[in-house]
């Protein structure tokens, strides 16, 4: 039977939703599921992890040098904990994509990136070519499987359990050659793009940073997160971390509303797993309408105020 260790993503305050989604993937693999929480002052986060359904045990390693999520410091700790596990999983977020290959290399294995489906304990499906093709991969059964979980493909498990939390001392110390300086958060108070149930996105058709406020206004009315196409980001209408797509964020909200986004392949890759896609665009031939569940050919500068009025 498989023994699965999930390396938890968190921001020092709360557990990231990606952990509950990774547990869902681990359930599909089947077996004992443990969670490793690395950080500093992480009692609350460990308790959150212990409450997730299907989790057997949480291992907490609390040390000053683990406070920032530096891969050079986290990877050796995760490897030290990984002994005896058949699978070590992390999210396909930027944190996981930075950390997990370092863990895999230290363990002498290749990684399975972006697990979107489990075919068996050692067989998975993952996207390549920006999601234009899907590959089946088979992993050697005598080696540890190190993988990242494509969070958009999995549902968060519920909370309500009460697994035990085991404290372990750190195995190593800070790597002197890498220093954390800081994080500049650009998102503000709106729901996190990656975990929001609703997302409103704007494209190049918005025309300016000032007019992009229309998107924020509608998003706030809906309690939605805000996204953007690469064209809008490149034009400087909004910050980089709002970009949705292959080179930005891959998201799976229940409702995705795209305004003035033509629907380049690289953008579609980021939204394919959304529950319902709504597209509003002046150009009836725009490729976004090929994937939209509900399409409206119209001028967003007219449609958005009408929507706001109708939503009261």
């Amino acid at each position: 039977m498989s023994r699965i260790l999930i390396v938890a993503e968190h921001d020092g305050q709360a557990l990231n939703l990606s952990v509950a989604k990774s547990v869902n993937c681990a359930q599909a693999i089947g077996g004992d599921i443990d969670i490793a929480v690395l950080g500093s002052g992480i009692d609350g986060i460990a308790a959150e992890a212990a409450a997730l359904d299907s989790v057997s045990k949480v291992i907490a390693v609390d040390a000053d040098h683990l406070a920032a999520p530096l891969a050079v410091n986290w990877a050796p700790e995760a490897v030290a904990l990984a002994d005896g596990y058949t699978h070590v999983l992390g999210p396909s977020s930027t944190l996981g994509r930075d950390l997990m290959p370092r863990i895999a290399a230290l363990m002498g294995v290749n990684q399975v990136s972006d697990i979107m489906e489990v075919l068996g304990p050692h067989a998975f499906k993952r996207p390549i070519y920006a999601g234009n093709a899907i590959t089946d991969v088979a992993c050697a059964e005598d080696r540890t499987v190190v993988g990242t979980v494509r969070t958009a493909s999995w549902k968060a498990v519920a909370s309500g359990g009460g697994a035990s939390v085991e404290q372990r001392p750190a195995n190593g110390s800070a790597a002197g050659h890498t220093r954390y300086v800081g994080l500049k958060v650009e998102g503000g108070e709106r729901p996190d793009l990656q975990s929001a149930a609703r997302v409103v996105s704007g494209g190049r058709a918005l025309g300016s940073e000032e007019k992009f406020n229309l998107i924020y206004g509608l998003a706030d009315r809906l309690g939605a997160g805000v996204g953007a196409s690469r064209a809008a980001v490149d034009a400087g209408y909004c910050p980089n971390d709002m970009q949705v797509g292959q080179t930005g964020k891959i998201i799976s909200p229940d409702l995705y509303m795209a305004f003035g986004i033509s629907g380049a392949i690289q953008h579609i890759t980021g939204i394919k797993d959304a529950g319902t896609i709504v597209a509003v665009n002046k150009d009836g031939e725009a490729p976004i309408f090929e994937v939209a569940d509900i399409g409206l050919v119209g001028d967003l500068f007219q449609v958005i105020p009408e929507l706001e009025a109708l939503l009261g």
Binding site: R102, Y129, A133, I134, V278, I294, L307, L311
Partner: protein, 248 residues
Amino acid sequence: MKILVGIKRVVDYNVRVRVLPDGSGVDLDGVKMSVNPFDEIALEEALRIREAGKAEEVVVVSIGGDPVQQQLRTGLAMGADRAIQIKTDADLQPLGAAQAFLKIIEREEPGLVLLGKQAIDDDNSQTGQMLAALWGRPQATFASEVVLDGQSATVVREVDTGLETIEVDLPAVVTVDLRLNEPRFVKLPDIMKAKRKPLDVVPLDELGVDTASNVEVTGFSPPEQRGKGIMVEDASQLVQELKNRGLL
């Protein structure tokens, strides 16, 4: 200081890749091949660092059969000083690629290694991190700003929550994101000049790397298509439709 830049030959980003009907692979017949766009950005950054007087030499390295020489020549035409082909017909997985790069690093002793954050064919995003791990050196992934300062580098990283800044001692591995720079266009005289620049061929076998992989690709399939949607006429129909589906 010397900068090593890894470049991978991949299907051009403008090509819409299709899975072969028998599921044995993707259709690469007659398809345009290019330098992985992220690697092009890595090379541009290396050239700018050299042009700012902070490095003396830029070496491009690629792994593969002789066709990768085309991409190495592109790198030389962009401005790299010389090129190294790690010659193999095997399709290396990231760990094998990282091991092979490490052997070149041991010979060349660069102060900085720049790579794209991922290749746009297999989308693995592993090689740079693995190389840093095997080398026992810092990794700064998804860089949108790189500032060299003597023996260290300050790197701004594009992470999901915003922009993270870290400081790494050199030598280090930096993988680059889209917004770091805009690569220059290659001019015809540069292409002619590139033909005379040195391109060393190192057989992979000579490097003594075990490239066996624990992960094997066993099949290919096209992605699932979303079902056909409906069109509405105006905002009120849209709101009604969303209400009908329980989304409002």
